[in-house]
Amino acid sequence: MRKTDEDFDDGHVAEEAAHWFARLQGEAATGDDWLAFERWLQSSPSHAQAYERLETLWVDLEYSPVAKELGGRPLLAARRQRPVRAASHDVVRRRALWGAGAAVAAGLVVAVGLGLQSPSVAAQTYVTPAGQIRDIALADGTHIRLNAASKITVRFERDARRVEMADAEAVFDVAHDAKRPFLIEVGDRQVRVVGTEFNLRNREGLVDLTVRRGVVEVRPADALESQPTRVTVGQELTHTVGQAAQVLKVSDPDATFAWTNGQLIYHDQPLSDVAADLSRRFATPVRTADARTGALRFSGVLVTDNEADVLRRLSAYAPVRVERTSGEIILHHR
């Protein structure tokens, strides 16, 4: 197709506008550059329009998933206006500011690479250390609350939203998007979501899925065309990685989701499970002294405000004595 003169002019003006925008953003620009820019702006109304188009684009980009994955929120203009130019110190300070605003409960964010070059928009790995829960808002409107000591990788592709779940527990509140299903690889299972809220846990080879809203489909990861198991509101699916079987039962979503409210709820569960949960929840690991202690059954609600108080309550509810060593906490049957 032949380009008309008008097309050529448009392209030319856009190029000049881009030149000015890039030039004036740089520290090398001088007062004279700005005066020359002023003359350019005044020489044609189309110049001002082209420049304003770039400004709008520049601001809109701050809402792109790329910006969100890097910063967790639109960038603040104020940073740019700080006239400090103390090279490396400046970089460190900016990064620190950025990190501070990045998450409600700041976990570790490990950027796997922006992924701009790949066909998918971006891959991002989220890691939380023991003792920290992290809220993640994805660009599509999905919210993930990642429990402590967890790791997931999120990748948005053209026709699918993908999550790889390593050793982790998280509540997913998935934004509805029929054209881009939300797919989670967990152990040897694939969880397919259309728009719902559920808790998914993958710990020590045991996968556990509890649905609070909507329907979730589960398939073996190596047989994706097989008939899925549908898990619906109030149901819980448990599965041991490597085995064929999976169990579907009626669940108590309140108990499963309790960790998101700073609680742990147990119905007749072994104390070894409680110790494992507390180890993820707090910085100092907790273990049971022996098999007999680990097998003690525990029922009740633990408010997980701080480790010392939780252990005090636990020793009041369960027949255990708490021993503190330098690096860990040991529960003994008493």
């Binding site: 392209g11 856009a14 190029e15 506008a17 881009a18 030149h19 925008f21 890039a22 030039r23 004036l24 953003q25 740089g26 520290e27 090398a28 620009a29 001088t30 007062g31 700005w34 005066l35 002023e38 702006l41 001002a48 082209a50 188009r53 770039l54 400004e55 709008t56 684009l57 520049w58 601001v59 809109d60 980009l61 701050e62 809402y63 792109s64 998933p65 790329v66 960038l75 203009a77 740019r80 206006q81 006239p83 400090v84 130019r85 103390a86 090279a87 400046d90 970089v91 900016r94 950025w98 922006l114 701009l116 070059q117 066909p119 928009v121 599509d140 409107g141 509805h176 998007d177 054209k179």
Partner: protein, 175 residues
Amino acid sequence: MDLQDDGRSALIGLYLERRTDLVRFFTVRLRSAAAAEDLVQDIYVRLSGIDQPVEIQNPMAYLYRLGSNLMLDRLRGERRTAHRDGAWLDSQTTRVGIHEISSEPDAEAAVAARQRLALLTSALTELSPQTQRVFRMHKFEGLSHPQVAAQLGISRSAVEKHMMAALKHLSARLP
């Protein structure tokens, strides 16, 4: 008078000396002499509030850039609503086939904002890897041109050229 006051008063001195130039420039940009007066006054407020030692290569350019960034901040305020509604749409809208159903009054603007965003995001992936890298570091990581140049081992003018290529491409991809 310590260093900090020194840098600040030098900038304010320059500001007062060149105030007329600034008002003229921002009158062109804002197409309103009254709006330009307000903005140039805002520049003064920002200058007197600077709490860091100041070391600036081109003080006059810095004043222009400060004012231009204030304009960008205003633009951010205007765009925020559309984008917030776009995000809201994502979580609230029911989709039937390709049709989106929403009862929000501003749904049209919100859909438009989201479509722009999708276009911009995919346009980013079409840039050469090095241009993407430069663009990401400057725009999303907040590094200045000299900082980007130092990290990548390229010249400042190369950074400028990459930024220019990226902007030109992104602009061309929008309707």
